[in-house]
Subunit: 274 residues, 3 copies
């Protein structure tokens, strides 16, 4: 079935690099519940690697559609907190995003020409005294609460062209048409030790059409694709496209990152099976 | 006082091996809040060891009674995700459980003859495209949401006999009547470093009646039982029955697992004090 | 803007040393949702170091004001669980606190003469059977739920004078007027590896007035204060007052604790710049 929202009541999601169980997260819940007491708050993700804006952008781009239209997604991965960096409000596909202008927003809004972007400036809403190290509490939480209460995005600041946003290029794989191979990188190792690459199903399908493929990673050559983890015996390596449609290398009931000695930013090559 | 529910409003609990703060958990909250916006969602536990179905089953069996009758408990510890393994809906003691058919349910339903069990098949409710690696999002969350909205369990699939469920035997301790000892195992080391065994208060009381006992673990012999941690001086080892009525070895304000060099699956022997 | 609550609906916050994602936390949510189904529950912090009552007290004192007036803050850092230690209910500045009488409350109530304190004794409300190792579930959760439902604090037990509370002295820095230096300690290393000290902005400002300062930590001498992390180049050390108004040593986009080889309880000296 299609995910069709049953209503449009305001909902705020929080994502950050604060770590799970952190009081930084708890206090943001507190501030929102003071200002907008009936607003629902969901913790989307708090295990983003510290300061990793790419991971934050990818996460939001991949997952916001699983929340109700009208949701306000707050993303606090903000190494520039307290500097002159802008605060951005993005509206795209019926969702709102609040994040610092450090490239995160550019990874969400890339392909959506109808996106609206504002440079937020509402010091009247910020908590006082305004800290220069915790804008999650003093800036983002009150802004999100006021949006949830129904304040118009237009009152939040001046409109920007998407091109005025700080840009982060997504870490796209290289397509080598001479060598007939895709050269990608490991973008994440998840809680299960699964190795996530930046190579999408679409990229592989377009490049190799119907050919079988071989994956080179960590000095090993892995042949062929599976559809799910348990298709191989426990302890064996399995390659598949995961729930984010990205090429993933796993060990059934094991930890691929340990088995293959792989970490983020390592290289992975996909080629036609010989 | 007895825990008597004040109402029967739908409540969904989520438990998994996804790890705390994971976006896998956040996205499940999202899907449920799209489909069943007023349903309360509680994270029961997300620190289950990856793929550990026994720990998941024990956790649910021990703790569901602390939630309102009518609660829908979703348990996503699912190494077989995407395979032909069934999805099970269990109703027992007024609570509902959704889990893959991998033995978890058998550990919850063991002693309750009036349990009802369904093999769920409702592809009309699953998210599309249906991934083969994240059924928490695509299958379990929508099923739970529809149950919370009031759909009858009978519409969810065909009834099974409890005997048709995939079975996991609980790791019971061995009772040796000749040697007059109970031979158990360490089933968990908790966040405090406390060592949890599979030996229950009831087992000890039935076997030794009123005799004092000795515990052998990690090459040490521990004599006698306490009632609470602070009964011994800080830094000392203490043996007691914990809040789950299981024999536990702790160090007051310390980490017993480090002090005794113990890990999950290690052996523990209880015998009459000499 | 000032944080002014929009209403006074009951809200319960939970803080503990149980660790994020723990079923100990999930079960407390469960018990409260059975007894007080419409009460909102926020996890304030579950990463308090095991048994660290000072950290718990500091955390609550610093952060409760970011929650609605009338909130009930439950703090379960309770190495004495099951002993004869008292349960305390504190009312201060319009907020309620429930915690064991182990010094946590003394760190919150120190400077507020109008605080009211009760020694709670309501066994009729505790869950039965009453465990001696998990009062979060059996004692604190039901007490908080009944307060949320509107039971008067006066019915919870007898009044105490604040002086009757178990005391913990805050770890204050030493002011050496001869050497003209402040001698403090590292009280925390946070998720980012930032080093938090017990030296407040107020202390520094009062002691050094307008003089520039030097910070000695881990064999290094750091000169001058910044206002925010990104004021220095990535990878450089930066000293500032953080969002809790405490002196903090950080590395911009790095981990100061690793860079400087610092851990909790290490020493830090602030002196006038030479």
């Amino acid at each position: 079935m299609k995910l069709t929202p049953a209503n449009r009541a305001a909902l705020i999601t929080l994502s950050s690099d604060f770590g799970p169980g952190s009081h930084f997260v708890g206090v943001m819940h507190g501030v929102i519940s003071v200002l907008a007491p009936v607003t629902r708050i969901i913790d989307l993700c708090h295990t983003i690697r510290p300061h990793d804006r790419r991971q934050a952008g990818r996460l939001m781009a991949a997952n916001y559609r699983y929340f109700p239209a009208g949701s306000i997604h707050v993303v606090v991965v903000d190494p520039g907190v307290g500097s002159q960096r802008r605060i951005i409000l993005l509206k795209t596909s019926g969702h709102y995003f609040l994040a610092p202008d450090n490239g995160i927003i550019s990874l969400i809004a890339t392909d959506t020409p109808k996106s609206l972007v504002w440079s937020v400036k509402r010091p009247d809403l910020y908590l006082t005294p305004l800290s220069r190290t915790f804008h999650g509490r003093d800036v983002f939480a009150p802004l999100a609460a006021h949006l949830a209460l129904g304040e118009s995005p237009e009152t939040m600041g001046r409109r920007l062209e998407p091109g005025e946003l700080a840009q982060l290029k997504p870490a796209r794989p290289l397509l080598d048409y001479e060598l007939k191979q895709i050269s990608g990188t490991v973008i994440d190792v998840d809680h299960f030790g699964n190795i996530i690459t930046n190579i999408s199903r679409e990229t592989v399908n377009n490049f190799f059409v119907d050919s079988a493929i071989t994956i080179d990673i960590g000095g090993r050559q892995l042949r062929g694709l599976a559809s799910y983890y348990d298709e191989v015996t426990p302890g064996s390596v399995v390659v598949l496209f995961n729930s984010g449609e990205l090429l993933e290398i796993a060990v059934n009931r094991g930890r691929a990152c340990d088995f293959l000695q792989i970490k983020a930013d390592d290289r992975v090559i996909v080629s036609e099976m010989g």
